[in-house]
């Protein structure tokens, strides 16, 4: 092991230089770092380590997407669609209802209507599986698991998009919004240590719909199959019964802005051409009648239509405060969430704790490094110095790799790096102890060093690999800080293997060649 091919030597030296080069940006001041980011191309050292939220300060939110009600709604919509289609085609049916993943209904005249019903059923969703039982006349339209998964995924992506718009509008810098698992969304907000406002913004579905009132039902007080009973926002005991059918919806809005009129803060809105046209028609046909403005299943207000509104503009008033109108306008502009989102996990770190953690992390790293260096020299003298030099490069490699990979450094991650510093010397200790032994047994210096490296190799690989296994498993199962720890440890193990095996060896060989000692005191 004393003979290293030339190309390996050059490669190692090159890697050492690169390692230091890529680690250097982390030492520079913030302005220099920003300058590097913009002026150097991506493959040159211009990146720094990504600081985790616990070191920057910020919030991490895990949102649960409440998919089930949305699926129910979709199935109900299919029922409505089927119902109106069949009425139009004059197909007799009964017992129509939604299932978990589709709809079923019974045909009154199977022979006559089979084909037409089949066409209608297929048109509901082209992924659906349609079965018609010829004897009982029961038609079942089902979506298989993959189709359902597609729908769920689509709901989640749409939610992510809307969340992103809302978060962007609120002005947070560089948020991270990602899907987690099948029905969860991770939102990371650097620099936001009180995410209450964002949580409020995310907590509202903001589904805006305009409905005509069901006047017959208002008299009797009971809602029928095509109407809904909804509470009044300002007086939740009072109920308003509206027709299920939506006149216009929030999707047709092109703009919403907070504004004021004589009575107080309002939200002024603008419909797109479809919405404007629809609103025009409906308002023309219903002058003198009231219509309800519904937001998230609450009736905000129910003004009477005074005249036909054809400009597509209007305003919503409902006893709002100024802040409420600003928030509502923001929500309407960003769009309605397809599903309700609930915060199921939250971890927020304030900025002072963040910078304190960075400071203590730095101290721990520096002192840890110093102690290890002192101990190595105390136990192994000159060879301890060699190990320390390799340790310096080891740390540089860790920083370089983490910067290149844009890995996230958390406080446990710093602990992981410090730990690797402590354990990194293990490889050197194994080698040196072996060399010592061989010398005591009477081998020559060169032979001892050679044997020492050779014998220690497999042990070093074994012990590092087992720790690496644990680190990798922690990486795949951990979240947040634990993941950061696993990343740092994994990188640290790999770099310390390389440093101990290649760098120390080269230094030792170089020294041996230069001084050619006849004895070695280790």
């Amino acid at each position: 092991m004393l003979h290293v091919e030339k190309w390996k030597i050059y490669l190692t030296i090159l890697l050492c230089i690169l390692g230091v080069a890529y680690a250097v940006p982390n030492m520079l001041s913030a302005e220099r770092q920003a300058w590097l980011q913009t002026s150097l191309p991506g493959w040159l050292p211009n990146k720094t380590i990504n600081l985790g939220l616990d070191l920057q300060g910020g919030s991490h939110l895990l949102l649960q997407v409440n998919i089930k009600p949305v699926l129910v709604e979709r199935m109900e919509a299919m029922v409505e669609s089927a119902r109106s289609d069949m009425r139009r085609e004059k197909i007799g049916f009964s017992d129509i209802g939604a299932t978990d993943n589709g709809i079923t209904f019974r045909l009154k005249d199977v022979a006559k209507d089979r084909d037409a019903a089949y066409k209608i059923a297929r048109s509901l969703d082209n992924r659906a599986d349609v079965r018609i039982d010829n004897s009982s006349g029961i038609v079942s339209v089902t979506l298989d698991e993959r189709a359902m998964d597609d729908i769920k995924a689509q709901i989640v992506s749409q939610s992510i998009e809307i969340v992103r718009r809302r978060v962007d509008e609120s002005g947070t810098k560089e948020p991270i919004i990602q899907r987690q698992g099948t029905d969860r969304i991770v939102v990371q907000l650097p620099g936001v240590d009180d995410p209450q406002r964002i949580k409020d913004l995310i907590g509202k579905t903001a589904k805006l719909t305009f409905h005509l009132l069901d006047e017959d039902a208002m008299v009797t007080g009971r809602s029928g199959p095509s109407s809904l009973k909804l509470p009044l926002r300002e007086a939740p005991n009072q109920m308003v019964i509206v027709r299920k059918r939506k006149m216009v919806t929030g999707e047709m809005l092109t703009d919403a802005q907070p504004s004021m009129d004589q009575q107080g803060p309002v939200v002024a809105f603008q419909f797109d051409s479809i919405g404007a046209k629809r609103f025009c028609e409906v308002s023309k046909e219903n002058i003198g009648k009231p219509f309800a403005i519904v937001l998230d299943n609450e009736v905000i207000s129910a003004p009477v239509i005074q005249s036909a509104i054809c400009g597509g503009r209007g305003q919503i008033s409902g006893g709002f405060t100024v802040k409420e109108t600003a928030d509502l306008a923001l929500l309407l502009r960003a769009g309605a969430l397809p599903a309700e989102l609930k915060v199921v996990e939250e971890r927020s770190v304030g900025p002072t704790l963040g910078s304190d953690s960075v400071a203590s992390g730095k101290k721990a790293a520096v002192y840890g490094f110093a102690i290890v260096c002192v101990m190595m020299v105390a136990f192994y003298g000159l060879f301890g110095v060699f190990a320390n030099i390799a340790l310096v490069f080891n740390v540089a490699f860790i920083f370089a790799l983490m910067s290149l990979l844009q890995a996230t450094l958390t406080l446990p991650g710093i602990a992981g790096i410090v730990l690797t510093i402590g354990m990194a010397v293990d490889a050197n200790v194994l080698i040196y102890e072996r060399i010592r032994e061989e010398i005591r047994r009477g081998r020559s210096v060169l032979s001892s060093v050679d044997t020492g490296y050779r014998q220690a190799m497999s042990t070093i690989v074994d012990s590092n690999l087992t720790t690496l296994i644990v680190a990798l498993i922690l990486f795949s199962f951990g979240t947040g800080p634990v993941k950061g720890f696993a990343v740092s440890m994994s990188i640290g193990i790999v770099t310390s293997l390389f440093s101990a095996v290649m760098i120390t060896r080269l230094i030792v060989i170089a020294w041996l060649r230069k001084s050619r000692p006849s004895t070695l005191e280790l």
Binding site: D54, Q64, D193, Q196, K342, V343, V344, E345, E346, R347, S348, V349, G350, T352, L353, G361, A364, Y367, G368, I371, V372, M375, V377, A378, F379, G381, L411, P412, A415, V418, L419, I421, G422, M423, D426, V429, E433, R436, R440, M457, T459, V461, D462, S463, L465, T466, T467, I469, V470, I473, L474, F477, G478, T479, P481, V482, F485, A486, E521, L522
Partner: protein
């Protein structure tokens, strides 16, 4: 060259194996104690597993824990668990329950109101009941897979008897570390699970080094009795074990001082783990080999193949 510290003399010949029965007995006792205490005192679970709210506050002036307790005694969710960290930093823990709507918002507001406006909320962590249960599953899965991964690795590199001995000592390490948590009352959350796994990794590290040496000696001295071989192996690796443990411990003591509240439990667990791991490598996995019926030729041969594979 500078002076060098010689921690122990060069050719130690401590007869570890003579006390190996006592060692195994101690291990057995620890395991029994762990189970007994697990069901009586129990682990102090963190909110990662129970769900709930954790707030780290810093008071503008030095306060006593009792004062803080008094002020927070009347929260609607019940009196919280309060831990002190330094003179002016406190951890307020409100364990979660099933119906948790708005717990975080309500409790944060109540705590703020009770303690006054100039108290600084350094850190807030909220884990909903659903996620809490899932994290338990995650912790267990991570644990089981790590154990399996390590076992497989040892199985591949050594004879199966070594694998069994290593796993037995691993199990001991994990149980002993849990015992440490139960006795000290340190909070058991996800980062302590990471610590337990690391202790396992570190201990296997230690064990593998002794095994390697045993295998090498087996090859050289096919006639010597196993007890003697194990003794020699442990003695020869003793210095390395002491040095590495010392550097690791030194580094962790530094971390304990400067690391801050977040990783405290983790570091203490690791420190205990270094001792536990070293103890188990010397007094459990090595002696267990005596009872495993190692086929010497096979073990030595496995060593040669594996060794050659690495050198290539």
């Amino acid at each position: 060259m500078a002076f060098r510290i010689k921690l122990i003399k060069d050719d130690t010949n401590i007869d570890f194996m003579s006390v190996h029965k006592a060692g195994l007995a101690t291990a057995g006792l620890l395991i029994v104690a762990a189970f007994v205490l697990l069901f009586t005192k129990g682990l102090s679970f963190g909110i990662d597993f129970t769900g709930g709210l954790l707030i780290e506050v810093k008071t503008p002036a030095v306060m006593q824990v009792e004062d803080v307790r008094g002020k927070l005694a009347n929260l609607s969710a019940g009196a919280p668990v309060i831990q002190e960290f330094g003179d002016d930093t406190f951890m307020i823990k409100i364990p979660g329950r099933e119906a948790d709507e708005g717990l975080q918002k309500k409790m944060s507001a109540e705590v703020q109101a009770a303690l006054g406006d100039d108290v600084e909320f350094r850190r807030v962590e909220y884990v909903g009941p659903q996620v809490g249960k899932e994290l338990i599953g995650t912790g267990i899965k991570a644990f089981v897979y790590s154990m399996i991964g390590i076992m497989l690795y040892i199985w591949v590199r050594y004879e199966w008897q070594f694998g069994v001995a290593a796993v037995a000592s691993l199990a001991h390490d994990v149980i002993a570390t849990m015992l440490f948590f139960i006795v000290t009352g340190i909070e058991f959350d996800l980062s302590t699970v990471a610590a337990v796994l690391l202790v396992a990794g570190y201990s296997v590290n230690d064990t593998v080094i002794i095994f390697d040496r045993i295998r090498e000696i087996l090859r050289k001295y096919r006639k010597k009795p196993l007890t003697e071989i194990i003794n020699i192996a442990v003695n020869e690796t003793l210095l390395r074990t002491i040095i590495t443990s010392t550097t690791t411990l030194a580094v962790m003591v530094v971390l304990a001082f400067f690391g801050g509240a977040v990783i405290q439990g983790f570091i203490y667990a690791m420190i205990a783990g270094v001792f536990i791991g070293t103890f188990s490598s010397i007094f459990i996995s090595a002696p267990l080999l005596l009872y495993m019926g190692i086929r010497r030729e096979a073990a030595a041969a496995a060593g040669e193949e594996a060794g050659d594979a690495v050198k290539a």
